[in-house]
Symmetry: C2
Subunit: 357 residues, 2 copies
């Protein structure tokens, strides 16, 4: 059997989240830290030194240099959202596989340019929504899909919030209209929307109606908002995201035969074990807890899965796995509809793709 | 010290819920089961025999007879909502104190007639929302009011659902337009609204916008619905109630410094102990559980509190406690606004009192 290739990662920029991803790449047996690029080569060097980059890793003072490095197979792009289109498209054109931080784009038309570039160049695309790769997520999916146990899904609620604090609310890229104009909706509402779509087995809602009273900063960036979502079959969902509220990451899915509740869906409270709660099958509906062990952090499982897909393309000439593109695109479509509903004064907005679904 | 009087209860009708209340009266040291009236005297006799009524209790074939019984101090009224105005007003006019099942009325104007009759006749009014009287509720209130620990309340979500089943959905009074035309909104949405108002320290929201896609039966009775609620100070809440979804009774309150979550707020999973979850004060926000013991069932605590208020009026000439009227009325005002929003096609409806707040 041919040896499985070790996928060589380059990282564009030294964002905070890139530290976590560097560790994930370091912990993944099929991935290695190959290059880091920043607009400041000093910053890049310090980042590499602090994050377990091997001595052989290249340190660059530009993002282009990473993309031109023939010893980079894949790039992780944690740049501000407004830069995603430019750098993700360029990465694909340079034949690099793309692991793209969320939110993937400012709107679906931008994402479509990225996805088109990936398709044209035969590279793998995946967004960096880590919890999708936790084994708990698979266990919860199995529970939700068990018609005998869970029944039919009727209602979903999710919230994701954290306190930004005065410095964050003034200086963070997540509240800067030129860098991350989607604000809290892009940064954490993304997770709520993804979790709701995931619970609905990625069936798109037909309509979004934003909740009223979103909080915007002076530049019009969302600090807090929410939405209701409606499906053809009668399912409904609500979510709320905020930079102005204590940390919460909840998902509740109510079915006709049971409920599923998880209070740390995006980032488990513990790295090695994570739990969720379901209605007990017997007697007065007490809640029973199910725990799922996780040998490696969820972000390392994400890197491993991404690198496996890249390896299959590189070694066997496999086609890129389209599923991850579809999931990103659906998340972005709902995000766009929520944004449009806020912009139109909380009118219902159809969740429709410019290209059809 | 004068002996505390034992308040003598009459019950109007043999509703299922009256069994629980009979037990609660039986368990309350300051209350006794004095009379039961039903349109069928046989049914009343069977009910009394099955529910620990003492031999001295009177069995009547009409509701009027209970109200005319001089040995009845207070009545518990679990009749269908459409009958509340008639019988609660008459009870007050006969000088009986009124413990009224929820939803208290079909609309606030009806409730106002009931409250006016209670005021004019100097009798105590309380709605039978049992969980308000559980010691856990006081513990949670203390936590929410602790600015150092909980901070400022920002967002609330509640859901209450259960599966009605085919027979329920065909025959139950809760889906009969002539008896309980508010359907799921009155039966269980009442609890969500009450819980949200309770969390907001009974500050009224200024606006309600119902969620879309409520499910109505052929007669127009709500089987499933929800709403968003908006306060002047930026707080928002959402709730969902349904007869078509597995049992759930959740309340989540998110503050600037902590969160409170309870999964059995209306009826605790266990009778003698109940818990809620708050964000831990230290480190990565794990959730910590707080348990509160309850020596007697919450419905018996409700009866005890009600009977104490009645005793103070009877023994010391105290004024009826107005707080319970105000709480009922605010709950009904929000319920009315949600109903109006559904009826007007999900338009925002101001939560305003016909009499001013």
């Amino acid at each position: 059997m041919a040896e499985t290739p070790i996928i060589r990662f380059g990282i564009l920029g030294c964002a905070d989240i890139a530290r976590k991803l560097s560790r994930a790449i370091y912990l993944s047996p099929n991935a290695t830290l190959s290059a880091i690029g920043s607009r400041s080569i000093d910053k890049a060097a310090k980042f590499a030194a602090a994050n377990n980059f091997p001595p052989s890793a290249r340190i660059y003072g530009t993002y282009d240099a990473v993309l031109n490095d023939p010893d980079v197979d894949a790039v992780y792009v944690p740049l501000p959202t407004s830069l995603h289109r430019r750098w993700a498209v360029m990465a694909a054109e340079k034949g690099k596989h793309v692991l793209l931080e969320k939110p993937v784009a400012l709107k679906v038309a931008e994402l479509d340019e990225i996805l088109e570039a990936c398709r044209l160049n035969g590279v793998q695309f995946m967004d960096a929504t880590m919890w999708m790769h936790h084994p708990r997520t698979a266990a919860m999916r199995e529970f939700l899909s068990d018609v005998e146990r869970f029944g039919q899904l009727k209602t979903i609620h999710s919230n994701f919030s954290y306190i930004g604090g005065p410095d964050f609310l003034t200086n963070n890229i997540r509240v800067n209209p030129d860098l991350d104009s989607l604000g809290a909706l892009g940064d954490i509402g993304w997770y709520c929307i993804r979790a709701i779509l995931w619970a609905a087995n990625f069936q798109l809602p037909k309509t979004a109606v934003a909740l009223r009273q979103p909080v915007l900063n002076e530049a019009g960036v969302i600090l807090s908002c929410g939405s209701s979502l409606y499906w053809e079959d009668g399912k409904i969902a609500t979510f709320h995201c905020s930079f102005l509220t204590n940390l919460s990451t909840d998902l509740t899915a109510l079915g006709t035969k049971s409920n599923l509740r998880v209070h740390d869906f995006a980032i488990p409270f513990e790295e090695n074990v994570a739990s969720f709660h379901v209605t007990s099958q017997f007697g007065w509906p007490m809640v029973s807890e199910r725990s799922v062990e996780c040998e490696v952090p969820q972000e390392a499982l994400m890197v491993r899965e991404f690198a496996n897909l890249v390896a299959a393309i590189m070694r066997k000439g496999s086609k890129p796995e389209e599923r991850w593109m579809a999931i990103s695109r659906k998340t972005q479509l709902v995000l766009d509809a929520v944004t449009a509903s806020i912009e139109t004064g909380f009118e219902p907005v159809e969740v429709v793709s410019p290209l059809g679904e």
